[in-house]
């Protein structure tokens, strides 16, 4: 455990220093962290054996919430935008979750997909609120009343994102070790026993679903502020697929997994676009095959081996 902590610390330091050495990486890594949050949300549900094929909708809701506040409500404070975007995504997660977490397996996956397609089309059609297919522009927020240049803000956003990875990552870690977090994988392995312990699988899942939506919303808000523009495409189903892929590739056993997967994919993507655009899908496909056959615990499994820690028994295998 201590070595995992040390290794996580090293990874964070590398993440923090990378843009100082290669400034062009800052944008890529900001987006990687943003998608990492959403993938972490997806990973929570994967622990309960539930695959959401619609989680990009919460990423989009977080992004649109940030954009809407900045553009239509004149709220410019960075902290307020971040918190409100998170709360709004959590709220949507709670409302949709009320009926979605009744379902399992393919029904859960498909219903999430269906709801996300509705959100996608609303984002494209409700011109007055969402700007339709043009999307919304996001102005540079202020920080405690200070106005910053876009460049300066991007730097702040990057380091705040890293702090959020640590802070939210720690909270999620605590949650997963708690009785409520353990109930999540218990739903997966034996829902009947869980109910016979007097625990409602439905409320355990609803909690997880709401948290996972909030995490995706945090990611979406970061992305919106970094890119400066939100589009309906954020909610498109291929983005949801990408999040599942990121979570599986990174590994769902630890908090670090989805972020590892996300950084890996974004870096590969950036390199591939520069050198061999058509090779991108091939690289991702091969990487996924390698993970599925040789690293059942994802990139996080590699991480554990590096830290000399054997895969602990208590965590779900995927």
């Amino acid at each position: 455990m201590n070595r995992t902590l040390t290794l996580s610390g090293v990874a964070l330091i590398i993440l923090a220093l990378a843009p100082q050495i290669f400034p062009f990486l800052q944008f890529t890594l900001t987006i990687a962290i943003a998608k990492g949050f959403a993938a972490l949300g997806v990973a929570l549900l994967l622990r309960a054996g539930l695959i959401s094929l619609g989680h990009a909708m919460y990423y989009a809701i977080g992004a649109y919430a940030a954009a809407f506040m900045a553009q239509k409500l004149g709220i410019t404070d960075f902290a307020v935008i971040m918190i409100a975007a998170t709360v709004i995504s959590a709220f949507f997660g709670l409302v949709f979750g009320l009926f979605l977490v009744r379902y399992r397996a393919i029904f859960f996956a498909m219903l999430n997909l269906a709801v996300s397609m509705v959100i996608y089309s609303l984002a494209s059609k409700l011109y007055g609120i969402t700007g339709g297919t043009d999307g919304l522009r996001v102005a540079v927020p202020t920080i405690f009343g200070m106005e910053l240049s876009k460049d300066a803000f991007d730097g702040v956003l990057y380091y705040v994102s890293i702090v959020l990875v640590v802070a939210l990552g720690y909270l999620i870690h605590r949650y997963l070790k708690s009785p409520l977090g353990n109930a999540l994988s218990a739903v997966h392995s034996n829902e009947v026993r869980l109910e016979y312990l007097g625990v409602s699988a439905w409320s355990s899942l609803l909690t997880a679903y709401t948290i996972s939506a909030a995490l995706a919303g945090v990611g979406g808000a970061i992305a919106a502020l970094s890119i400066g523009h939100v589009l309906p495409e954020y909610a498109f189903w291929t983005e949801s697929g990408h999040l599942v892929l990121t979570a599986v590739l990174g590994g769902i056993a630890g908090i670090a997994g989805p972020f590892l997967g996300s950084v890996f994919l974004e870096l590969i993507h950036t390199i591939a676009v520069g050198f061999a655009a058509e090779a991108w899908n091939m690289i991702v496909g091969v990487a996924l095959l390698v993970v599925i056959f040789f690293l059942p615990r994802g990139l996080f499994g590699l991480f554990e081996r590096l830290s000399g820690q054997k895969a602990t028994d208590g965590e779900p295998k995927l």
């Binding site: 708690s178 009785p179 994988s185 009947v192 026993r193 016979y196 312990l197 007097g198 625990v199 208590g314």
Partner: protein
């Protein structure tokens, strides 16, 4: 005056044409150790399903103490004090044995603990004590999914007991255990239940076990209670000899 803990009245349920419960009436007093015996398919497991809300009766009622629990969900009934060990053990296979028990302990205190660890000294000590009482101390760290069949049933009982139920329902605790191991297993269970003051209802098809361990026997046949009494009384009943002992 004995105190009634569980009372079932006229329970009826049918699957297709099969009447799995055909007017079941049964009461269990506090402190009793009651056995249900009867041929395969006579509705013993169905009765436990009805008492715990897993299936709902077409008609009839179930009371726990003075509270009616008919048609409640399993988790509501569990919270009111009925715990169950299953004919096919139901464990969290991705957790180890002691975590299974600690989850039961935690759920007793309310599962809404999101930031305190499940694996905490207080829970671990209580779980370990219970596991040792049931001779499972050596298997605390074994993954529940990899336990041998016989131990899995015992672990299932341990999880149920960790809920500190008023009433414990055991569905064929000795099935799948070799004839030689049945008596030691029952000794272990009895010792644990006596130590915890649990009232229990257990389904058993071995008449010898029933004679040795039950205060009272309820004989099941075709979805209904055919006879009941002390083991000695029931064994004198010709219908029981013909329908139950003859078959099983």
């Amino acid at each position: 005056m004995s105190e009634v803990l569980l009372k079932a009245e006229n329970l009826e349920v049918a699957f297709g044409g099969v009447k799995a419960a055909d007017g079941v009436n049964l009461t269990i007093d506090k402190g009793e150790f009651v056995a249900i015996i009867g041929p395969n398919g006579s509705g013993k497991t169905t009765f436990l399903n009805l008492c715990t809300g897993y299936i709902r009766p077409v008609s009839g009622h179930v009371w726990l103490g003075d509270q009616e629990i008919t048609r409640m969900a399993p988790r509501q009934i569990a919270r009111r004090g009925i715990a169950r060990a299953f004919q096919i053990p139901q464990l969290f296979t991705d957790h180890n044995v002691i975590e299974n028990v600690m989850l039961a302990i935690a759920s007793r205190e309310g599962i809404w603990q999101a930031f305190t660890a499940l694996d905490r000294p207080k829970y671990r000590a209580e779980a370990m004590e219970l596991l040792e009482l049931l001779n499972l101390g050596d298997y605390a760290e074994t993954m529940a999914g990899t336990l041998p069949e016989g131990l899995r049933k015992l672990a299932d009982v341990t999880v149920a007991m960790a809920l500190r139920p008023q009433l414990l329902l055991l569905d064929e605790p000795t099935s799948g255990v070799s004839a030689l191991e049945r008596f030691p297993l029952m000794d272990t269970l009895m010792k644990a239940m006596k130590a915890r003051g649990v009232t229990a209802l257990f389904v058993e098809h071995d008449m010898e076990i029933v004679e040795n361990y039950a205060d009272r026997v309820v004989v099941w046949n075709a979805g209904t209670v055919m006879a009941e009494g002390t083991p000695a009384e029931v064994m004198k009943d010709p219908r029981v000899l013909e329908n139950v002992v003859g078959i099983v």
